[in-house]
């Protein structure tokens, strides 16, 4: 059963990683992906909107799908919402398994599916007050369709 959090607050990736290995000796590898806010084109901030209730439900389903496809000993997904500054973390995906391939593949799967199947929307705020909704990218759909 995955740990899923949707929150405004920053998270502690080190503590989350430690939690997946604490007290057990059957974990051979922990793969992680940390998504970070870039400052392309003079971005001031990224504002993440989501669909409370559906978001958690969607992520839990995606995580359950990963747990069905790969033999995981643990899985954590934390996605921030609200206003995020360049350089700040947005999302953390952690997968632990006895075998490295399972951890690595499921981690890539989770972030690909999160991008295309969890109800988050990014609005970019630029210097001078202009803003722009990030558009979905065909290459994200292609990445998600690989799995």
């Amino acid at each position: 059963m995955a740990k899923v959090l949707v929150q405004q607050a920053p998270f502690d990736a080190g503590a989350e990683t430690a939690a997946l290995t604490a007290g057990r000796t059957d974990v051979g590898g922990v793969a992680s992906f940390l998504g970070v806010c870039r400052s392309d084109d003079g971005l001031d901030a990224m504002v993440l909107e989501h669909y409370p209730g559906m978001t958690e439900r969607a992520i839990e389903r995606i995580a359950a799908e990963a747990e069905g496809r790969w033999p995981l000993t643990g899985c954590t997904v934390i996605h921030r919402v609200g206003r995020i500054l360049p350089g700040e973390p947005i999302v953390l995906v952690l997968t632990a398994s006895s075998h490295r391939a399972a951890a690595l593949e499921s981690c890539a799967f989770l972030i690909d599916w999160l991008k295309t199947r969890a109800p988050f929307w990014k609005r970019e705020e630029f210097a001078g007050g202009t803003e722009r909704w990030v558009e979905a990218r065909a290459e994200d759909d292609a990445a998600a369709a690989r799995w």
Binding site: Y51, A58, L114, R117, F120, W121, W133, V134, E135
Partner: protein, 83 residues
């Protein structure tokens, strides 16, 4: 029926959510879209291009032919961009 709007759909409609009572001929997501589009210029702008929209019924993604009923929660939004 509770209808929710997110991202630029919310901005164009001008509200985040509303309770509506569509007529009986509104049976699925597609007919709901057509009915909602006639409610205001903001709705019309938001629903102008249904191909740009995605929907969820009771918090599951739904296609245009997905049925909708009086007690449903229906949401409209652009393609998702999280992660």
């Amino acid at each position: 029926m509770r209808v929710l709007y997110f991202a630029w759909v919310r901005q164009k409609v001008g509200i985040a959510e509303e309770d509506v009572a569509p007529p009986a001929e509104v049976r699925d997501v597609a007919t709901l879209v057509a009915w909602l589009a006639a409610r205001s210029p903001g709705h019309a702008a938001a629903f102008a291009d249904p191909k740009q929209l995605r929907a969820a019924v009771n918090q599951d993604f739904a296609t245009p032919d997905h049925p909708v009923a009086a007690n449903d929660e229906v949401a409209f939004f652009p393609p998702v961009t999280g992660g």
